[in-house]
Symmetry: C2
Subunit: 443 residues, 2 copies
């Protein structure tokens, strides 16, 4: 009988292993994809693409036991050679090759020049060849940054006593209702894809006090802009026993601080590749919705057309205002009008025209919507009635309020938008592995 | 201008804070949900439910400034009182109350006796009142264990150089194809919900070498059993540069070892609440599919009806066999018949009737399917042709092979099934927050 006893240490080394320096002058084995071959006659530089970066290998005619003509770009290989310091090589060393073993070969030439520093292609061509385009090391670096964002979100929230949950994406009814739902047939019953885990995370506050989820959400919105997707990853949390909605903004600020520190620590190479300067999140200004509108109207000589809504252009100007006045990349805009928020939003007791809610703008783009929710059953029922809504189908959601809920609130962060702003892109599709929009359902 | 500067330290304490011992004899503030009130006349025990467990508070008539009659079970409160050691109380201490402040009140009595040690209710009633039933501390503990499983999966894979990815759940086509797809209309185009991230994670091996995803998958299967769900959370990984499919089993064994250690360290209280004894995963036996069938047929006097398939009963007997013979809770069954595996599975060069693949059985239940995949473009095209399949709609998937892919393989683990076995349940709905099955689309 054979047994599995855990991960076997491999003979082949990773860049991290080689960077310890203890292999200098020694013979090592590494593997990778042939990113480029630069043939100089007697020698050739073979650059391998590995998960941690590029690795320069030197082919020497007569010494390396392999015929260079048999090596193709995009092949995957395993090589054996000696580690030598070389200042001009990516990590300060190169491998002088003794042997090359081909693991796999491509069947056709590359459709895109992925080994270029910048992928010189349109977004359309990039997305049409997505899995190939992402082999460019700067393209893929964006998604390593994205990993850091999600990882930071979870690790920070674990440390703050949150429990991770997994809620269903197919349901009979959705939190916000309305027209923006994808509909499907579920064993001969009408069903929808969830626009947000809103109802579920609130229900779970009664169980775990603090919960979070990182999962896809689905919006059948017919927007065709640089900042909209029809499926995206939402970073959601919901927390009980709050003293006010400021607790939620404070928690988000804590997350941003933790996440930025994590990126600096564990994703420095990707930040360098992309030339990213991370924003300062030591302190984030807050401004009331109505005040923000006034400030912007005044400074940029703009008339307030609709006092109850923010246009994208206005959001951008609020971002500009706080950058100019406070050198701030982020700003919490608070107290959104009640009529623009869902029924479960808590109205401000001081003026019920407004809610105890906020958006977080990052360089003028909304990346978070959050706020305090109504926790009292009777008040929630009143609000539902006042809005002329049907409570049918919401019995389970309403039952948690009937049976006792602490004061609570939460937020949802759009992962792709946050990543886009962090890496300095201006189209959310650039930071989505496989975007879904009005026209794009593939790959 | 006000600024957010990060998480504010609250005056109210958590159980973890109180367990440091430094608050003994001191006045503290805590909050929580009133789990039970036991009125003994002059004193009353008020047990609070907090995220870290139960907390005993003592109400003393004349001393506590509050009228006990005004306190309801399921209310949420904030209290002030003195910490006193008390061996019979949950964590070895209790709080003698000075003040009680009510934060929220329920509007109706509980539909279930959630404060009982065991929730004495049918699974049906439990699921119909899911958000309330989960307030029972043993019910909720299962989902803390589930958190530990997912957390262990991610943290272990990060440490092994994997990158986390987020792939779309709505698509034009799915990896396995066939009848088990939920279909929907996507802006006037036919679309499906992904049964697995198979195509996407393989495509991303060409980018990051090693990738994983923890996300929902959707199966429109008409099974109505204790082990099937129509939506579940799949823990998927895919890794390149493997020497054989044993590397994948070794990686999964490493994950199980890491995860079990994490549960022991960070989820000890939940394990205690549920009376869980964790399985030994130091070494996991492997057995060929055909040998496993023979062993079981021989030992349990069972005729082999179909040499190319495992019936659930046979899986259970394989589990029993390895428990009896090797005291093993897990067993890798390898070399599944090619005709029972998808087209992308790599056939065994030694006998192409079988594949370089495996299932992991946990006490006789399949919790993982994995294996090596075909990485050569021409071989993949041959297999597609041999099966009489259409390659239309798979161009993007196929393109990654055309442009070079390393030898690779991976697996998918059913989170709810693994959790179910870990906590000793026998219906997968018990370890699903909000199950979706043939008849259940709510809550």
């Amino acid at each position: 009988m054979e047994f599995m006893t855990g991960v076997n240490k491999k003979e082949t080394l990773e860049i991290g292993d080689l960077l310890t320096g203890s292999y200098e002058g020694k013979s090592v084995k590494v593997n990778g994809a042939v990113h480029t071959i630069r043939d100089m006659g007697e020698v050739a530089f073979i650059v391998l693409r590995k998960r941690e970066g590029l690795l320069q290998c030197v082919y020497e005619e007569g010494k390396t036991q392999f015929d260079l003509k048999d090596l193709k770009e995009a092949a995957t290989i395993e090589v054996e050679g000696t580690v030598k310091p070389e200042e001009r090589a990516p990590h300060g060393f190169e491998i002088r090759l003794d042997k090359i073993k081909v693991l796999s070969e491509p069947a056709a030439p590359m459709p895109l020049a992925i080994s270029k520093w910048k992928l010189n292609t349109s977004l359309e061509a990039n997305l049409n060849n997505r899995a190939i385009a992402l082999r460019n090391i700067r393209e893929r670096a964006k998604f390593r940054i994205q990993e850091g964002v999600v990882r930071g979100f979870r690790d920070f929230l674990y440390s703050q006593g949150f429990t991770e949950i997994h809620t269903p994406k197919i349901g009979a009814k959705s939190a916000e209702g309305g027209a923006n739902l994808f509909r499907l047939e579920y064993f001969h019953r009408p069903a929808v894809l969830q626009q947000s885990p809103q109802f579920y995370k609130q229900m779970m506050v009664g169980v775990f006090d603090r919960v979070f989820e990182t999962a896809p959400v689905f919006r059948a919105e017919k927007h065709n802009t640089k900042r909209h997707l029809n499926e995206y990853t939402s970073l959601d949390f919901e927390m009980g026993y709050i003293d006010g909605f400021e607790d939620i903004m404070a928690m988000e600020t804590g997350f941003l601080q933790y996440m930025i520190a994590l990126l600096k620590k564990d994703y420095a190479e990707e930040l360098r590749l992309l030339g990213v300067t991370l924003p300062n999140v030591d302190k984030i200004p807050t401004v009331r919705f109505d005040e923000a509108k006034e400030k912007v109207a005044e400074k940029y000589h703009r008339q307030i057309r609709n006092p109850y809504d923010l246009e994208p252009e206005e959001e951008a100007l609020i971002g500009q205002y706080f950058k100019e006045e406070y050198d701030a990349d982020f700003v919490f805009v608070t107290h959104y009008p009640s009529k623009k928020r869902p029924f479960y939003a808590m109205d401000d007791p001081a003026d019920p025209t407004y809610t105890l809610s906020f958006d977080l703008l990052y360089q003028g783009l909304e990346i978070t919507t959050g706020g305090q929710r109504i926790h009292d059953y009777n008040k929630l029922m009143e609000k539902i009635e006042k809005r002329g809504m049907e409570s049918e189908g919401m019995e389970q959601y309403l039952s948690v309020f009937k049976h006792g809920m602490p004061p609570h609130g939460g937020l949802g962060i759009g992962l792709e938008r946050l990543t886009m702003k962090l890496v300095g892109e201006d189209n959310v599709r650039e930071t989505t592995l496989f975007p879904r929009d009005l026209s794009r359902l593939e790959p």
